[in-house]
Symmetry: C2
Subunit: 491 residues, 2 copies
């Protein structure tokens, strides 16, 4: 039988898409990558996924797992060989179990994140993972890319929210690791290998997720700040004063909010112009009045001590939402002004002021008039360090320099002990940069793991790790080549 | 050159111990295991560890990493072949850096846990890992065994407290993964492979650890409970009412506290006798008065609703310590009454009442008069399920049944979706039980990882995984053989 006939026999012909029906699965949502595929298959159960993998294995067909297709690094888009089978998990969308007394929930990989949040809330619990794409991304994709979002400060990344996994291995076997345990020291933590592996080591088909108590009240405040050092000082005070009740601490440059107000004139910043703003969210287990009282105590002291210039505490849910909306509108507002060059980077929180000062200066020297739209999750050391063209420069000329901008920014990240992908993953987008920023020892260890768990190399090939052919390239080539002796040299 | 001569040349003859000088390193502290070794070496730096590993590799000498030698599963004791080199990390005991603004600290593996706690406190921060052996265990051992302790409910296991690691691989290479980042999605998480691997995949030489704000106040309460179901109901109320401020929720059976009061007559339980007691600890970011007020609100409601029988809230630090002391004295008190059979197990928190009822009944049917001393970290689903002999039974006869008791209890753990080692690890103690409770798929994946990262099999052999020779045994043999078709059958 042919590959397609076997697949159709295994999961039903309606769920094997070839030709135009499969097209939506072959382009990522930001339309940066388009691939081709032998078929797009939509299995409905773990057993069907295992069957599909077994068939692909026999036919030597590369497999590309896909969730909501909302990734930002091209990790779920096939290459253009046309040989791959895209395995969409979208039909595996059952909540298998909710256990409020154990504070766990078992969700299949294709559950949309919002559906998981809703199932938790219906049981009187919180599933705290929260991202812009939560209405369409899937929990399987979130776990495979170790998604971050706005609540990491308190609840951790997707990695920290998964107690157990069910995985179909590249051999087509099913590993049932759906343990709902907080403590389990019985050998190697397979779970943490599959989390964040972007589907290159196996296919996550279900997960046991951690739930938390719903906060009694949430309160939001905006603070105007003179410098990033002041922002760090405010963060330290907020962490001491609120401990785990501090569920978000977002930073936005004044320029970021200028962009928002230009694009969306009905939005307004309730404070006088300032170089930086911090958005703080407090989740309180006692109630609204207590939350506000705590905010007032800590923020008034910060005001008195000159750490912040001004403060606005939301007086209602609507006001709190409006403050969040400012933060959430930055990307869209920036897009309205033309294409920009994005970086999703992390450095140690304490290094953020030095990183921003050094990198801004480097870019300005190299590209006079360049505009910075810097914002992100300060409490996690994670910045969306976006760069817009100088006003006098045509867009095409600016975008032609994208790789050089990446190089300059990422070299600076490396020099400050940081990561070139904080929450979006490597996928195709950063794959060829990886060997420049990882030591040869680390790259070799990663390749050994890939070889051990996917010896045929059929599981999402060409993602995360450069394909084997590239290993052989002589050093000194392009940015995708092996690590250079001095990775800190800007390009 | 001989192995010993090369080692002496590499790290200095004073730090290569052979003969009686090495003896203290060859027996675990509970004196369950004694091994022999070609030498005990005490390198002082990561480079020296790498040199030692390189030498052992060339000589084909097995290596056994060792921290404070306080493990409970024999993971740091060599076998009796006399071929192994014990690598003590004790001289690597520097705190390399403290970064209060990033809330991180870099400690070498040989730092005693208490020294790490002290270094954090000196910087005005909390390093929350806390165990009975904290005065002598080392952070390297804690990370290698993924230690738990009393604060897991709030802060997680050792695994969750390590942001980055430095590791010497079985090839003698140094992986510098000492990143101090909360978000880093750049490939496979090597860190989580080494954590909890008990030194079988490489030697952790240093770690970047997470720090937290010091609580403004801590308050402790003891609640008397009728049933474990009531204990779960109280836990749910405490989690909702205190959220992350609930830093401990320990459970103790009435029998456990009887044992303490018998052994240490100066200790007293400040409540009337009850089947169960819960110890709650609240860490508050506002202050003593606020903490007490919160306790009173939630515990009074629980009293009014009949969830708890009685409550004592500590009125001073001394009273709080006395309550903790009851909990911490159970093991020692039980030891004073003779040897007992210990289990360190976890089940989903919601399954604890059913697990205890079913397992107690099974044991009593099989060994009438058996006495249960059950206590542990209820909030983590982790029980120290200890079993004492029937009064009428001689100790020797009881201990002769140890393996059967293990089998019965662990089969029940398995039937309740649990783990046979919650926080102590596998080591030698549970190694031969592991294949009974892990699926063949999981065992095979673990062996592939071991093979990939330690192809010569020289890194702490015979720990965690049964040695290769055992793989070949025909099924149906002893408990150390391959998994049986029905793992739930009690022995």
């Amino acid at each position: 039988m042919t590959l397609l006939a076997e697949l159709a026999a295994a999961i039903g012909p309606d769920h094997v898409l070839a030709g135009p029906a499969g097209a939506p699965f072959l382009t990522d949502w930001r339309r940066r990558y388009t691939g081709r595929a032998a078929a797009v298959v939509r299995p409905a159960s773990t057993a069907e996924v295992a069957r599909v993998v077994g068939i692909c294995l026999r036919h030597g067909a590369p497999m590309v797992p896909q969730g909501g297709n909302t990734g930002l690094a091209g990790g779920a888009t096939p290459d253009d060989s046309g040989r791959a089978v895209v395995i969409s998990l979208a039909r595996m969308n059952r909540i298998r179990a909710v256990d409020p007394l154990n504070d766990t929930l078992v969700a299949e990989a294709g559950c949309v994140l919002q559906a998981v949040q809703d199932a938790a809330r219906q049981a009187g619990r919180l599933f705290p993972l929260s991202l812009a794409s939560e209405g369409s991304c899937t929990i399987g994709g979130n776990l495979s890319t170790n998604a971050g979002g706005t609540q990491v400060l308190r609840y951790g990344n997707a990695r920290e929210l998964a107690l157990g996994l069910e995985v179909v291995t590249p051999d087509g076997e099913i590993w049932n690791g759906l343990r709902g345990l907080r403590k389990d020291n019985t050998g190697y933590h397979l779970r943490d290998l599959y989390l964040g592996a972007e589907g290159t080591l196996g296919i996550i088909t279900a997960a046991t997720l951690r739930l938390f108590p719903l906060p009694a009240a949430q309160c939001v405040a905006l603070a105007a700040l003179g410098t990033l050092d002041d922002a760090l000082a405010l963060l330290a005070r907020a962490r001491s004063g609120f401990d785990a009740a501090l569920t978000a601490f977002e930073i936005m440059s004044g320029a970021s909010l200028d962009v928002v107000v230009r694009a969306f004139p009905r939005q307004r910043v309730p404070l006088a112009p300032a170089p930086w703003y911090a958005l703080l969210e407090l989740s309180d287990s006692e109630g609204e009045a207590h939350a506000r009282e705590r905010f007032e105590r800590v923020l008034t002291a910060a005001l008195d001590d000159g750490v912040v210039r001004d403060v606005a505490i939301a007086e209602s849910l609507a006001q709190g939402k409006a403050l969040w909306h400012l933060r959430e509108s930055i990307s869209e507002a920036q897009a309205a002004e033309g294409k920009n060059i994005k970086h999703d980077i992390a450095v140690p929180t304490s290094a953020i002021p030095a990183f921003v000062a050094a990198t801004d200066a480097l870019l300005e020297r190299w590209l006079p008039g360049v505009r910075h739209v810097t914002f992100g999750h300060l409490g996690d050391g994670n910045l969306h360090y976006n760069v817009s063209r100088p006003e006098s420069m045509p867009e095409a000329g600016f975008l032609a320099r994208q790789d050089q901008v990446y190089r300059l920014v990422h070299d600076s990240v490396q020099a400050h002990g940081g990561s070139i992908s904080a929450e979006h993953g490597i996928g195709q987008l950063r794959r060829d940069e990886l060997p420049r920023y990882k030591s040869p020892v680390e790259m070799a260890l990663m390749r050994r793991l890939k070889q051990a768990l996917d010896p045929r190399g059929l599981m999402n090939p060409g993602k995360v790790l450069p394909p084997p052919a590239r290993f052989a390239r002589p050093p000194g080539g392009d940015a995708g080549g092996p690590a250079k002796p001095d990775p800190r040299r800007p390009g």
